[in-house]
């Protein structure tokens, strides 16, 4: 019985995988189509845009934006936001170079609390605060429009460490 169940499960899984693969490739096609229009600034509906401001340690503000579902790391990468060394591990939770500091009220409103793995990485960051998060773990929602986050100083004298 167990064996039969396993075989059945495997069959269901492979069917599902094939279905997902199909959907995915359709989606990719759709995505490439739409990105083509995105670049022309047409299809991006106003309500999907989330404006974000990055504030450097020296107070300089960098205004940028992403769409709902993007991570803050995506926003930096997609818009070429000028932050040296940001996102070294490319969002795989193995470095803390995308460390960002939130205002307390914004931090409390974030839909997901940091997991152990994120906190482990944050523990290695400079200027760690109680409202620190990794940008790669923050997914933009519509409520976040107008969000302002602080970027810790990248040029830190590490020799003292």
């Amino acid at each position: 019985m167990l064996v039969i169940n396993r075989i059945r499960n495997a069959a269901i899984l492979s069917l599902r995988n094939a279905y997902i693969r199909n959907c995915l490739s359709n989606e990719i096609r759709a995505a490439t189509n739409s990105t083509r229009t995105f670049s022309l600034g047409l299809a991006l509906r106003q309500q999907d845009v989330v404006n974000v401001t990055f504030v450097r340690a020296n107070g300089e503000k960098i205004k940028s934006s992403g769409k709902v579902g993007d991570s803050l790391l995506d926003v930096v990468v997609n818009n070429n936001v000028d932050l040296d060394g940001f996102g070294a591990c490319e969002g795989t939770l193995t470095c803390s170079t995308c460390h960002l500091i939130f205002k307390e009220a914004d931090y409390e409103k974030l839909p997901e609390k940091p997991g152990d793995e994120e906190l482990d990485m944050l523990d290695l960051a400079y200027e760690l605060t109680d409202t620190s998060r990794l940008g790669c773990q923050i997914t933009l929602t519509k409520d976040m429009d107008g969000l302002e986050v602080q970027v810790p100083a990248t040029i830190n004298d590490a020799r003292a460490a």
Partner: protein, 479 residues
């Protein structure tokens, strides 16, 4: 669909108009550039410090060119040869470094060794500024008798062995015994312990060298002791590495309750990173009684605190029991012997002096400097104009990639500041590196090696199969 295409077309045509304008000014710009001498900067060592410094310099100094000289035919230093194979995500920084290397103002010279193929003096004559970032390729010793015996090897060499550093394949560590004792508790020690205890199947998909996989598959190692001189509050490993160890399948972690006497009471006063690490150790300790009952024939990870190495013999290592006095470990008269079929020394790296002209501190194993500016030989604080150091060669072997990145950015900024302040000559014309009777691997050469390695890996279901032989690397690179 036609609408956007039209738009695209009109945008392209306007771009053309624009670029025509750019073209004319670009010609003018080029003429200007030929008049003003380019600032030539040479970086020695293609590891993270070198690449991050190059990234910063190329961005901040639009009129500079950067040459990276590397001893090995292949780039990336400890990202390739240090980072554990089961941490492939950490190696994603290679993508950033590759972007830097593709900058037309950067040249890569692989297979060029400072002190052998080119002298520091020569480089300083050929460049306005030289930045040394060749890292730390030696390790600290225990200074004990019998340390040179075959069953005592350095963790650095063990890491180099499984990571395929040319020359390290000769190591052939003896993994036929049950007990391995690692002296030291840093992340290198943790990496080595994890490699020894991980199920072989999880390593097979990584870029662990084939000969190391074969040896690890035959390994009889069942218990890995990880011994530190100080207590749990001074543990040098980071929490990510510990959490990983605690999750390893078929491996039981056993702490010594005595090591944690009085620790729980201090947790509240600790800073967050230290507090979380200590809490994780205490939690694991409290769950211990349940674990030992379930896993009997699995492997064991045994962290041991407050023990300083004292004597090495054939099958064991003797430790002095220590006491903490103002954060330092002080040996008592009490001793303890631990079984050790293999001893791995993991108490830190140090750098070597590649060229006699470098102001090198042999005691500390790094270059003497002030804020990255290399100091002149002898007393006093005057600096060598145009000579800099960054990364572990300057700071000593501490910190994660973030630390090295920030340090390298800071030294690169110092170079920019010094140029602005005219602290060294940038007005004269400098020839840069010239190729003479030397088999040099360019960036394109590396890309050929890279492609070869990735394809060889793919055939075996691995991320990459590293080439270990320098001669073979050179052949594939086409030199």
């Amino acid at each position: 669909m036609t609408f956007p295409r039209n738009l695209l077309y009109s945008r392209l045509s306007s771009l053309n108009k624009y670029s025509r304008n750019v073209n004319t000014s670009a010609v003018r710009l080029q003429n200007v550039q030929q008049v003003t001498a380019k600032k030539r900067i040479c970086i020695v060592g293609a590891g993270p410090a070198g690449f991050y410094a190059a990234q910063y310099l190329l961005k901040q100094l639009s009129d500079c060119t950067v040459d990276i000289v590397e001893k090995l035919p292949v780039p990336f230093g400890l990202v390739r040869f240090g980072v554990a194979p089961d941490h492939p995500e950490v190696k994603n920084v290679i993508n950033t470094f590759t972007k830097t290397a593709e900058n037309p103002r950067l040249r890569f010279f692989g297979n060029v060794s400072l002190g052998q193929d080119v002298s520091l003096q020569e480089l300083r004559q050929r460049y306005h500024a030289v930045l040394l970032t060749y890292g730390a390729d030696q390790d600290r010793e225990l200074q004990l008798q019998n340390e040179e015996q075959k069953h005592v090897i350095s963790a650095r060499k063990f890491v180099a062995w499984y990571n395929g550093l040319p020359g390290a394949e000769q190591l052939q560590p003896d993994l036929s015994g049950r007990d391995v004792t690692i002296v030291g508790q840093g992340n290198v020690a943790m990496d080595v312990a994890r490699m020894l205890l991980s199920p072989i199947d999880t390593l097979k998909a990584t870029d662990t060298t084939e000969y190391a996989l074969e040896a690890l598959a035959r390994s009889q190692v069942k218990r890995v002791h990880l011994v530190g001189r100080r207590g749990p509050l001074q543990a040098a490993f980071t929490i990510k590495e510990l959490r990983e160890m605690l999750k390893l399948p078929n491996v039981t972690t056993n702490w010594r309750a005595d090591d944690f006497a009085g620790i729980a009471e201090q947790v509240e006063q600790l800073q967050r990173p230290r507090r979380r690490l200590t809490e994780l150790m205490l939690k694991s300790l409290s769950e211990q009684s349940k674990r030992t009952a379930t896993a009997v024939d699995g492997k064991q990870f045994l962290p041991i605190f407050l023990r300083a190495p004292k004597a090495i013999s054939a099958k064991e290592i003797e430790f002095a029991v220590t006491q903490l006095q103002e954060n330092a470990a002080v040996a008592t008269d009490t001793t303890e012997c631990l079984p050790a079929d293999l001893i791995l020394r993991s108490i830190g790296y140090k750098s070597s002096c590649a060229d006699p002209a470098i102001n090198f501190d042999p005691q500390r194993g790094h270059v003497r400097h002030d804020q990255g500016r290399v100091l002149k030989e002898g007393e006093g604080s005057s600096v060598e104009p145009g000579l800099y150091v960054a990364g572990w060669l300057g700071t000593g072997p501490t910190g994660v990639i973030l630390t090295t990145m920030n340090g390298a950015f800071a030294v690169a900024k110092t170079i920019c500041d010094d140029i602005t302040a005219n602290a060294f000559d940038t007005a004269s014309t400098k020839p840069g590196f010239e190729v003479a009777n030397q088999r040099i691997v360019t960036w394109d050469g590396w890309l050929r090696i890279d492609q070869h390695e990735c394809e060889a890996g793919k055939a075996k279901g691995k991320l990459r199969e590293k080439i270990v032989d320098v001669e073979q690397m050179l052949r594939i690179a086409g030199v």
